[in-house]
């Protein structure tokens, strides 16, 4: 039985959807040109994950295993459609920016992956928590990648924040260097690959460090 702490650690770090499982790369690479876009899609994916995990877990006793995948897809599609309509009503400008990538959340492998891998064999509570943690892990990576690309590409941070948080949030925008000419590559698709590679590199580096420190004392006698 997985504990809540383990679910949280898996979702946020050890088994991070974007950095370890490398799922959902299509939206990840496509919309993270700014922090706001990244957070917008991240929140939409997070809500979808929690809702779909919860529903899949609730009905897991009634669905025969032969038809489980179509049923999961139907559930996910309904959730995403709801979110898309809600977004259209509440954040119309952001909806226009994210465009096709909102309906495409349906095809995000991370969501059906969690439904199949976790929610369909665990009770409602842990499933919802798993959705929340996996979604948060994804959201953080989207926001980080968006920030990285926005700083390098445009020289700003939180540009167009008013799209999501209302008029007052326009003041959030930070212009780091007004003379910055921009670095187009970071905004273009290659920049997303470079950025994701850098994030994965940092994660692996952080993971390796304690192991190296633990290995160091045992290595000493051999060399001596």
């Amino acid at each position: 039985m997985t504990t809540q702490a383990e679910i949280a650690r898996n979702g946020l770090w050890n088994n991070n959807v974007a950095l370890v499982q490398l799922l959902g790369l299509c939206p990840l690479l496509a919309v993270t040109s700014t922090v706001v876009n990244g957070i917008g899609l991240g929140i939409a994916t997070l809500i979808t994950l929690v809702a779909s995990n919860t529903i899949v877990s609730l009905i897991r006793g009634f669905v025969r295993s032969e038809v489980r995948l179509p049923v999961f897809v139907l559930i996910i599609a309904s959730v995403v459609t709801t979110i898309e309509l809600a977004m259209k009503a509440l954040f119309y400008d952001l909806y226009l920016v994210l465009g096709i990538f909102i309906p495409l959340i349906v095809t995000n492998c991370a969501i059906i992956g969690r439904a199949e891998g976790f929610a369909s064999r665990n009770p409602v509570g842990p499933s919802a928590l798993d959705g929340l943690m996996m979604g948060t892990g994804f959201l953080v990576v989207l926001a980080l990648l968006g920030g990285l690309r926005e700083i390098i590409g445009f020289g700003t941070l939180f540009a167009q924040a008013e799209l999501m948080f209302g008029e007052g949030a326009g003041a959030l925008t930070i212009v780091i260097n007004p003379d910055y000419g921009g670095f187009l590559l970071a905004i273009l698709p290659p920049g997303a690959f470079f950025g994701l590679a850098v994030l994965i590199m940092v994660k692996n580096w952080v993971d390796q460090r304690p192991r190296e420190q633990a290995a160091a004392p045992t290595a000493l006698p051999e060399s001596a």
């Binding site: 000419g181 670095f183 187009l184 590559l185 970071a186 273009l188 290659p190 470079f194």
Partner: protein, 340 residues
Amino acid sequence: MSDAQLSSPYLSPGKPVGALMLQVVIALLPGTLAYAWFFGPGVLINIVFAVVLALAFEAVILKLRQRPIRPHLSDLSAVVAAWLFALCLPMHSPWWLVAVGIGFTMIAGKHVYGGLGFNPFNPAMVGYVVLLISFPREMTTWFLPIEVSGQSLGLADSLAFTFGAADTTGWDALTAATPLDQIRTAVGQDIPISEARSAPLFGHVGGKGWEWIALCWLLGGIWLLVTRTIRWQIPLSLLLSVVAISALFYGIDSERFASPAFHLLSGAVMIGAFFIATDPVTASTTDTGRLLYGAMIGLLAYVIRTWGGYPDGIAFAVLLANMCVPLIDYYTRPRAYGES
């Protein structure tokens, strides 16, 4: 050990990397000097600055990777990559442009794959294409040959330009579109090529100055062939494919497609054929494969020049062909005797 005791087959020990790279540097000299003669000393500043930066990057990365620094720095591979990269840049590029390009050349082009010998893409072209895509304004500020503009920037002025201390207003007369770009624009506006070519920028066959520089690259290329630094297959098939496809379209409509001679002596075809496409690490390694690889670059470069979004296509063509090298090598592997 006496020779009499050895039996065949013999394997030549091969030249060390440093010796090969030294030949490339020697072969680059005539073209580089011609470039400086026609366009002013700015190009030399680009090269020296790029080489110094490349060696610095190389040393730092080798240190980080805990690799021996001295043998890798002295094999001249970083010097050649930086030199070729600097020749691709417009003259008087600002220092940060060179620095970003060299950074990508060394890090993303070479060391992330494991350093010299492991990179699938030509490092100099990686750095150049990154800049070309990211900084369209800086990368299209081409200076005119001295013969055309009648003015030359001295060494001090060029240095000031590179490091951003120069007053750039009033220098507009010194920059213009390259011959390839002009032909491209003319065709786009339905101006016949014969009319476009009457501009002062054009010389006997290609652009004024450019055509002589291209011939100097050819001279250096012949030196590389004579010293057996490169094989003949890649340059020959590359140049032949450019001639073949441009002759075909020139024959169809000589007012909308430039002549084969113009294509050969413009842009990066000559330097690409002998210096860039022949990079031993990223090129195909079989004889048939080299022919295919060269022809692919020539055809792609022509297609990009004529119908693509950029005036010259050698850099993109080389990178695209680099991608195909494992496939080409796989299908052109020479069959060992007895192997079915």
